[in-house]
């Protein structure tokens, strides 16, 4: 597998707690994933998602709270809407919409989150390489 870069925008509330729980349980992050801690995924703008790809990421995963238990009430719903908007935009400009995904996680679902991240890494690794030579190494 050639080296890929995945940026994970992770909510610092339930989602980050899930990652910590997984870490305590001995799980490790997939090698390609770099974490960007967010106060709330609802703060993520569509512009940031596009610019992250232009900067050299091969895939983006947004990890927010469960939609019916969001720390900031509607943050993860806003994030899902923006992720879906970017998926539509990518389809429109002939890029793979699979490069951007949203995952919702409770603080107790660390193992599930790690599994989904590994699955996402495999999926992105199978996509054609992007030509961007950006800031993300």
């Amino acid at each position: 597998m050639s080296k890929i870069n995945i940026i994970a925008f992770v909510c610092e509330n339930h989602a980050l707690s899930a990652l910590r729980a997984a870490s305590i349980a001995g799980e490790t992050l997939p090698e390609s994933v770099k974490i960007v801690k967010m106060p709330c995924t609802g703060r993520l703008e569509t512009t940031q998602l596009i610019d992250t790809i232009t900067a050299g990421a091969d895939g983006i995963i947004v990890v927010g709270c469960l939609e019916d238990n969001c720390f900031h009430d509607v943050g993860s719903m806003l994030a899902r809407g923006r992720v879906n908007r970017i998926k539509d935009l990518f389809k429109d400009i002939k890029m793979e919409p699979e490069r951007v995904e949203m995952i919702n996680a409770a603080s107790v679902s660390g193992a599930m989150l790690m599994l989904k991240m590994r699955q996402f890494e495999d999926k992105v690794a199978a996509l054609p390489a992007l030509p961007f030579k950006g800031a993300i190494k």
Binding site: E45, T46, T54, L89, D92, I93, L130, F132
Partner: protein, 234 residues
């Protein structure tokens, strides 16, 4: 307000073939509220175009700008150096803003980045609905403040068409029947007498059907000319 919707980026991309310096110009008024052409949307389109440029090696130089009201010459003139310095302008304002730039700088190619959709209101976050057709002859004093011209699919003038059921329009079941709403509103206001009155056929010549409209108010003209003889000219 004027409600718009951004064109697909692929459509905008086609307009920009062969260009290098591109100015994206949004508007802080109506289309900013309808989340189609304000500061955020200009930034989003700029990011998308930069992505395409980097992917396809197009070497586009994209500048972002948002004016207060793109339909007014005074505000547009403030960004004249940016307009003149670009190969083309993509307007993320409504059709009025786009034409204001195009008319002020006729030699500059100005493209619409939005489809101007309708005159409407925000209903809730992410939802806008049409409520005025700018028909030029408002009759809402007879209809409880509800416009049947824009809110009835058939623009009925004298009551429901007969096709509505359970308060919903037969053309689109997601839409409330305007005349059912008018009935309920007049009932609430104890003005059901209005619904039994027969209204004369609507004068559509005051709408766009009568050709391009123009309003001249002579009290506001700074240099009166023979135009001052006109109150309203089509």
């Amino acid at each position: 307000m004027i409600i718009g919707e951004r064109k697909p980026v692929s459509e905008i991309e086609k307009m920009l073939a062969g260009k290098k310096k591109i100015l994206l110009s949004g508007c802080k008024t109506c289309v900013a509220i309808s989340m189609a052409g304000g500061e955020k949307e200009v930034a989003e389109l700029a990011s998308a175009l930069r992505l395409i440029s980097a992917r396809d090696g197009l070497d586009w130089e994209i500048e972002e700008n948002v004016v207060e009201r793109q339909c007014e010459k005074e505000w547009v003139r403030e960004i004249e150096p940016k307009i003149l310095g670009a190969d083309c302008v993509v307007s993320l304002a409504c059709g009025l803003g786009c034409q204001t730039i195009a008319d002020l700088y006729p030699a500059k190619q100005t493209y619409p980045g939005l489809n101007t959709s309708f005159l409407g209101v925000p209903e809730e976050q992410g939802v806008w609905s049409e409520k005025c057709l700018a028909c030029g002859d408002c009759i809402m004093f007879e209809t409880g403040g509800i416009c049947p011209v824009s809110r009835c699919a058939k623009s009925m003038r004298n009551g429901a068409c007969g096709g509505s059921a359970d308060g919903k329009c037969e053309v689109n079941l997601d839409t409330d029947c305007a005349w059912n709403m008018i009935y309920e509103r007049l009932k609430l206001q104890n003005r059901l007498d209005l619904i039994t009155q027969i209204s004369a056929p609507k004068d559509w010549s005051k709408s766009h059907s009568g050709g391009r409209r123009k309003i001249v108010r002579k009290d506001l003209l700074i240099q009166p000319t023979d135009r001052t003889d006109m109150e309203v000219k089509k």
